[in-house]
């Protein structure tokens, strides 16, 4: 695996026993993490306003511009965020949320291990306050902040990776295929997508509003990222895209109905996901077929399996080019056959 595709190597997670081993460390480092987040908060305050806010449906809003889309549910129960954006935008993000609603930030749900998804966790958590009771309320001076929800693999990856400060880590994890809560008068489902971009992915479905926050398995600015070293796979990405299509129901003549907010890019509906799924499937099928015929990676790259999509989805990004995507698909398919 080339470093250009996967970044730093992180050991694969074998089980959940690491949680207990790392919990104490997380607790002792939390204050340090919070301080770092507050420092980042102060830095971002000096930045100009660059975020855009768009109403999606019901209590659900989209805030874009924080190096990735942030989906917001704002209502009587307060604020729930899907992802927290990049750390340097935290102050702007908090301001944008306040412009939508003065409610308290209760939850942040993370969809992926990436600084653009979890970078604002610390600042957002500090700015919020989740629902608490029992023992927590009996400890004077304890401010638990907003709860940060993520799959347990997200926590484990963040514990292993020193780039992620302890203050960014999830405070509530789940290991089942689904985590749910009822918030702002609607069921909210957090659905795990195993081995997609990596092994931490989740999509979030606001069921009454019928809005899905897809995270980066669906993005309009590039190919889906496949982080092989962190458990990602092309098959997992396609499963996630097909899950989105299974969940979405279009209104009349394939338009509207269930709305899907991608990790990057505009609000979409089923037909947009459909086109993206088709494209990724076609490229996957070509590479798989050519591998079956014995073509090497170099030969497949030479044959340009993604040629007709390159100018639309491979542009403008040095860190995830069409060539890198093709290589990742090739290696993913190769590893799945071993």
């Amino acid at each position: 695996m080339t470093a250009s595709i996967v970044g730093r190597r992180i050991p694969r997670i074998r089980g959940t026993d690491r949680i207990r081993g790392t919990k104490r460390i997380r607790e002792t480092n939390r204050i340090r993490g919070m301080l770092a987040c507050f420092a980042m908060l102060g830095l971002s305050t000096a930045m100009g306003q660059s975020l855009r806010t768009t109403h999606v449906e019901g209590p659900v809003w989209l805030i874009s511009g924080a190096r990735g889309n942030v989906v917001v549910s704002a209502g009587d129960n307060g604020i729930l965020l899907v992802d927290s954006g990049s750390a340097e935008y935290s102050a702007e993000l908090i301001q944008a949320i306040e412009n939508i609603s003065g409610g308290t930030i209760r939850y942040v749900v993370n969809t992926r291990l990436h600084p653009d998804r979890v970078g604002g966790n610390g600042a957002i958590r500090a700015a919020g306050d989740t629902f608490t009771g029992g023992n927590a309320t009996q400890i004077g001076g304890v401010d638990v902040g907003a709860a940060v929800i993520g799959h347990e693999n997200l926590l484990l990856r963040m514990v292993i990776d020193a780039d992620f400060d302890v203050g960014l880590q999830p405070t509530e994890t789940f290991f089942a295929p689904r985590f749910d809560l009822y918030f702002n008068n609607e069921p909210v489902e957090v659905i795990y997508q195993p081995n997609a971009i990596d092994d931490t992915n989740a999509i979030v479905h606001f069921r009454r509003s019928d809005v899905i926050a897809a995270g980066d398995v669906f993005r309009l600015d590039s190919w889906p990222y496949i982080d092989l070293e962190n458990g990602g796979s092309i098959e997992g990405v396609l499963d996630a895209l097909n899950d989105l299509l299974d969940m979405a129901i279009a209104d009349t003549l394939s338009e509207g109905g269930t709305l899907i907010v991608p990790g990057h890019g505009r609000i979409c509906d089923e037909s947009d996901v459909l086109r993206y799924r088709d494209m990724v499937t076609i490229v996957h099928d070509r590479i798989r077929a050519w591998m079956d015929r014995g073509m090497s990676l170099a030969e497949i790259k030479q044959a340009e399996p993604a040629f007709e999509y390159d100018s639309r989805y491979g542009r403008g990004r040095d860190d995830w080019t069409t060539d890198m995507f093709v290589e990742a698909v090739y290696l993913s398919l190769g590893s799945s056959r071993q």
Partner: protein
């Protein structure tokens, strides 16, 4: 609520009561706003200006307009053959996209009810046009178009509203604004979904821009469309279509619900591997058309290509 920045449009064109030299410059400036090919736009602008010598700056487009079936009969009727890209200024990406397309894709439930986009809706079926007026000023604030095929409703806003923000959803019909250029209603459409240019796998991207001109000559309505796409076209694709006024016309509803027609593995997408479309050659072979001409491209759309075509035919390229 969106906090998008308002798009700065050029000042409205002041319409003189007759053609004069200045007029050409003004209209070209309007096209230039969209970056349309200078050569093409000049031709169309001159044609429109020649038609707009009337002292009346606008015509009434309201009516029931019947599709003329002998014009573009293949498109308006049964649909094109697979591999027929003739007359399309496709770039290599657009061509490869079309050649990998399989008609079986239309059996996939989510694809079954995908309607024609704004650039294609007029190609297929009849058209109804009505206008919406401001109750106080009686100004026309919007034109409404209903294309019978797939019951495509389009709204052409005349009130100068800004285009949707970058985060707003794209639609099959996109977002259209209008302005008068002589006697032609210029319609600019953005924010379309990725969709068909031709019904055989030739598609434009979601970044395509469509500029149309609607004008009327008595009982004939002419629609000039110019489609520009940075990802699939070498040059703007320009097309004209005509409709006849038909006051007895009625429109039929077009209900559609996708369903499983073929039991497939989950996520299967019908398509051909590059170079392995077994049907792509049928069109050119059956009609004796050289491969180069059948696959389109900007050069093949020009009159001077006839000479090249003769060379190809004489060299046996059509076999």
């Amino acid at each position: 609520m969106s906090s998008v920045a308002r798009i700065q449009y050029p000042e409205p064109v002041e319409l003189p009561d007759r053609v004069h030299p200045e007029r050409s410059r003004v209209v070209v400036g309007v096209f230039g706003h969209l970056g349309i090919c200078l050569r093409m736009r000049s031709v169309i602008c001159m044609a429109l200006l020649a038609l707009s010598g009337s002292a009346v700056a606008q015509v009434d487009l309201v009516g029931e307009w019947r599709s003329i079936r002998h014009e573009d009969q293949i498109e308006r009727g049964p649909g094109p053959e697979i591999g027929d890209f003739t007359g399309l200024p496709l770039n290599e990406a657009g061509r490869r996209r079309g050649l990998s397309w399989s008609a079986s894709l239309l059996t996939v439930p989510e694809h079954q009810c995908s309607p024609h986009p704004a650039n294609y809706a007029a190609m297929h079926g009849n058209l109804r046009i009505w206008k919406q007026v401001d109750p106080q000023s009686l100004d026309t604030v919007a034109w409404h178009l209903l294309h019978e095929s797939y019951n495509r409703f389009r709204v052409v806003y005349m009130d100068g509203r800004p285009r949707p923000g970058d985060d707003e959803r794209h639609t099959w019909q996109g977002f259209s604004t209008g302005r008068w250029v002589g006697n032609a209603l210029e319609i600019t459409t953005t924010d379309m979904k990725e969709s068909r240019i031709r019904r055989n796998g030739v598609e434009h991207s979601d970044e395509a821009v469509l500029v149309e001109f609607l004008t009327r000559h008595g009982d004939v309505l002419t629609l000039i469309s110019i489609l520009e796409d940075p990802h699939r076209l070498e040059e703007p694709y320009i097309h004209t279509r005509n409709f006849i006024l038909d006051t007895n016309q009625t429109m039929r509803p077009y209900p559609c619900r996708g369903t499983v027609e073929i039991d497939r593995p989950r996520g299967q997408v019908p398509h051909f591997l590059p170079g392995e479309n077994t049907f792509a050659e049928e069109f050119r072979i059956n009609h004796g058309i050289p491969r180069e001409a059948a696959l389109g491209g900007a050069a093949t759309t020009l009159p001077e290509y006839r000479e090249r075509l003769r060379e190809l035919l004489n060299s046996g390229e059509s076999r």
